[in-house]
Assembly symmetry: C2
Homo-oligomer: 404 residues x 2
C-alpha cells in the first residue's frame, strides 16, 4: 500500500467533487458535492448519540438498498433539533440536487455540520444546486474546504494498493472535525471514495471494522456529536471481479482503508479546537482490547492530563488517576508509564512508584507536536492506541468566549 501525494476524494477512478459558497456561512465555502460517474455500492456509520441530526435519518433511508451515487454536504448548520421540518429539509437537499445530476433523490446521501437548533435556510442551498453540479471536477479542494467548521485546515488523503489479481485500487477521503468530538461512531464527518468492486455486505463490514480502530479511538473533548458520519462509495471502476468473500484481497482492502482512516482520524485529533499537541495514548499488555481502549480513552479524556500536556508537564500522577477511575480493574503496582516522542523515551512510573527521571529529557519530549504516552498493564496480550489533544486557553476561547 502507498500513500498518494496530494491525494483526495477525487483520486479513485470516476469520482468528482465541487464546493461553493451558498450563504450559510458569511463568506467561506459551505456547500459540497461528491459524485461518482457510475452507481456505487455504499455504506455508512453514524453517531450513537440519541439526538441525531436530520441528515442521518435521510441518509440511512437512502442507504437501505446499499447503493448511492452522490453525497451533498452543507456546513454552517447541523440541521439538528429542527423537528419534522428538519427532516423535510434534508430530503429536499437530495431532491433538488437530483435534478442537476440526473439521479434519483434516493441515490444521493445527505450530511450537515454546524450549529444545532437553527432552522436550515433551504432556499440558499436550492439556489446553489446548479452551480454546485456544474462545478464538478477532479479538483477536490473546494469540497474539502466547504465541509469544514472550526477546523484550521483541510483534511484530504488517498492511498493505493494492488489486488492479488493485479488491478490497482485507490481509496480517497475528505474529512472534518475539530470540536464536539468523541466519535461513537463519533461533528466528525468523513467521506471515502474507492474504485474497488466489492459486495455491499463486505463493504459495510470493512467500513465498520476500520472505523472501530480509527475514528472511534479519538476524543477531542469527550462530547460525541449529534451528526457524526462516515460514508463510503465504491464504484467498481478498478475493473476487478467483485470481492464477495473474506479472501486475501478483502483483507488488502480492509488494511488500506484502515490505514487511510487512521491518517484522517489523527488529523482530526491534532486539529482539535485550540490544540497545540496530538496525544497518542497506547495501552499495551492488557487483558483485552476493550479494556485497553477504555483505559486509553480515560487518559486522553482527562481534563487534568490534557492541561498537563499543554503545560509540557510529565505528570504521571494524573495519568494514574485517570486509569484508576476508568472502571477497569487493574493492579497499580504492576503497571508502568512512559512518555515518548520520535527520538526519545523516558519511563516515569513503574511497579507502584514514580521513578527519578531527567527533567530536561522529559521537557524535550513534552514540547513536541506529538506526544506518546505508553502504558504497560503487564496483564495480557492486548493493546490499543487512542488519540486526543491538549486542553488549552484557545479551546475555552473558541467555545466560551463570545466577545472574541
Amino acid at each position: 500500500m502507498k500513500i498518494i501525494e496530494n491525494g483526495s476524494i477525487t483520486t479513485p477512478k470516476g469520482f468528482k467533487a465541487s464546493g461553493v459558497h451558498c450563504g450559510l456561512k458569511k463568506s467561506k465555502k459551505d456547500l459540497a458535492l461528491i459524485y461518482s460517474e457510475v452507481k456505487c455500492n455504499a455504506a455508512g456509520v453514524y453517531t450513537n448519540n440519541i439526538v441525531k441530526g436530520a441528515p442521518i435519518y435521510v441518509t440511512k433511508e437512502h442507504l437501505k438498498d446499499g447503493t448511492a451515487q452522490a453525497i451533498i454536504i452543507n456546513s454552517g448548520n447541523a440541521n439538528t433539533c429542527n423537528g419534522e421540518i428538519g427532516i423535510q429539509d434534508a430530503k429536499a437537499m437530495a431532491y433538488f440536487a437530483s435534478f442537476d445530476l440526473h439521479l434519483k433523490p434516493e441515490d444521493i446521501l445527505v450530511a450537515s455540520t454546524g450549529i444545532i437548533g437553527v432552522p436550515l435556510n433551504l432556499k440558499l442551498i436550492i439556489n446553489s444546486c446548479s452551480k454546485l453540479a456544474l462545478g464538478l471536477s477532479y479538483d477536490s479542494s473546494d469540497a474539502a474546504s466547504a465541509i469544514l467548521t472550526t477546523d484550521t485546515r483541510k483534511k484530504e488523503c488517498a492511498v493505493s494498493f494492488t489486488l492479488s489479481t493485479g488491478e490497482e485500487v485507490k481509496i480517497g477521503s475528505i474529512c472534518k472535525g475539530s470540536g464536539m468530538i468523541e466519535p461513537n461512531m463519533g461533528t466528525m464527518l468523513s467521506f471515502i471514495s474507492t474504485d474497488i468492486n466489492i459486495s455491499k455486505n463486505l463493504l459495510n463490514e470493512a467500513l465498520k471494522k476500520s472505523v472501530e480502530k480509527t475514528y472511534n479511538r479519538i476524543s477531542v473533548d469527550g462530547d460525541t456529536s449529534t451528526n457524526d458520519m462516515v460514508l463510503i462509495l465504491a464504484n467498481k471502476l478498478s475493473g476487478n471481479n467483485e470481492i464477495t468473500e473474506k479472501n486475501k484481497d478483502y483483507f488488502l482492502f480492509l488494511d488500506a482503508l484502515t490505514k487511510l482512516n487512521l491518517i484522517q482520524a489523527k488529523r482530526i485529533a491534532s486539529d482539535g479546537e485550540g490544540a497545540t499537541k496530538l496525544i497518542e495514548c497506547t495501552v499495551c499488555s492488557a487483558p483485552s482490547v476493550t479494556d485497553a481502549i477504555t483505559l486509553s480513552k480515560s487518559v486522553i479524556n482527562s481534563s487534568l492530563v490534557k492541561t498537563a500536556i499543554f503545560g509540557s508537564d510529565a505528570n504521571w500522577g494524573r495519568i494514574l488517576c485517570a486509569l484508576g477511575y476508568s472502571k477497569i480493574n487493574f493492579n497499580p503496582n504492576k503497571i508502568s508509564v512512559s512518555f515518548k516522542s520520535t527520538n526519545s523515551e523516558i519511563e516515569v512510573y513503574k511497579e507502584g512508584m514514580g521513578l527519578k527521571f531527567n527533567e530536561t529529557k522529559a521537557k524535550e519530549i513534552l514540547i513536541q507536536d506529538t506526544i506518546e504516552i505508553i502504558i504497560n498493564m503487564n496483564s495480557g496480550n492486548s493493546s490499543a492506541t487512542c488519540f486526543g489533544c491538549d486542553l488549552t486557553y484557545d479551546y475555552v476561547k473558541i467555545n466560551g468566549d463570545y466577545r472574541s
Copy 2:
C-alpha cells in the same frame, strides 16, 4: 433543622481542632487535627478510584472496629503512589500523633491531599505533632485552612436539630475540594463531627446515604481523585439514648446530615478550579433516579456545556448533545429544557425543537453566579440534581500553565 451561623467542626459538644504550618507547603498551614474528648462511633466513605492514596488503606484499617477519636490531615502531599513506604508513612502519622493525644494509633484516622507521587516528608509532620496537639481548641479556623489545596476559601458548616426525645443534636463539618473532582465516592475531603448517640451500623448507613445524594453528585472536571474521603465521628455527648433502629430520630439525623453535606458539596462545586459559576442541573420526571443522575452528570461534565456557561450562552444544543451521549435511552421529542436563576426562568427547548426566547432575559439569567438547568424528561417520576461549574481560562491556567 437550622443552620448555625459560623458553625464548624468544633460546634458539636466535645470536639476540638487545630492547624499548623509544618513545612509541606511554602508558608500556609498544612497540618490539621480534629479531636473528640471522648471516643466516638465512626464511619468513612472513600474514592472508588482503583489508585488509592496510602491514607485510605490505613484509615480503613483503623475503622474496622467502627470507632475512632481523632483525625490527622496533611495537605501539600497526597501520599499516593509512594508504594509500601507511603503506607508506612501514613501509619506513622497516626503513631506519632497518638503520643501527644494519649490515644492508641488505631483511634486516629489519617487523610492527605496534594501532589501525587512525591514521597511524604514525614519528619516535618513528626516535628509538628506536639505543636498540633497543644494547639487544640474550639476555634476551627486553622484546621479549616490547613486542609485546603487549590481552594480559594475555607468551607465550614454546622447544623442543629432536636430529637423527638428532646435532646439537641449538632453536626459540623470542614471540607475541601477544587480540582480533580468527580467524587465517586469522589481530592475532595470532608470531615464531619456530631454529638449524637447512634449505633455504628446506622451511622455508617446514614453517611453512605447522605454522601450518595450530595458529594457523589458533584463534578468539577470529571477527574475522580485518588484520595477522596468523607469521615464522620459521633461522640454521643448529646446524651440521647443510642439510636439503634431506623425510627423517626434516625431520619431526622439523616435529613440534617444530608442537608449539611449538600451545603458543603455545593461549596466544592462552586469553588471548582477557575470557576466563576455554580451549575445546578436538575433532571426531573425521569424513569429512575440512576437515569436522572447519569443524564445530569453528562450535562455538567460536558466541556462544551461548561464553556458555554462561562460565555453566558443559552446553548441548549450542547445540552441536548450531552444528554444524547449519556448512554441513557430517551426520546428527544418528549423532553424540555429551561434555564433558571433566583428570579427568572426561560424555556429554550420543547418537544423536539428550539423555542424562540428573549435573549436579554436569557443573558440576565446566565450572568448570575448560580445557574440552574432544568431538564424535564416527561417519562417518569424520578429526579436528581447534580452540581458542577463552568470551564474557564483559569482552569487551564491552574492546571496547565506552569509559567504562571
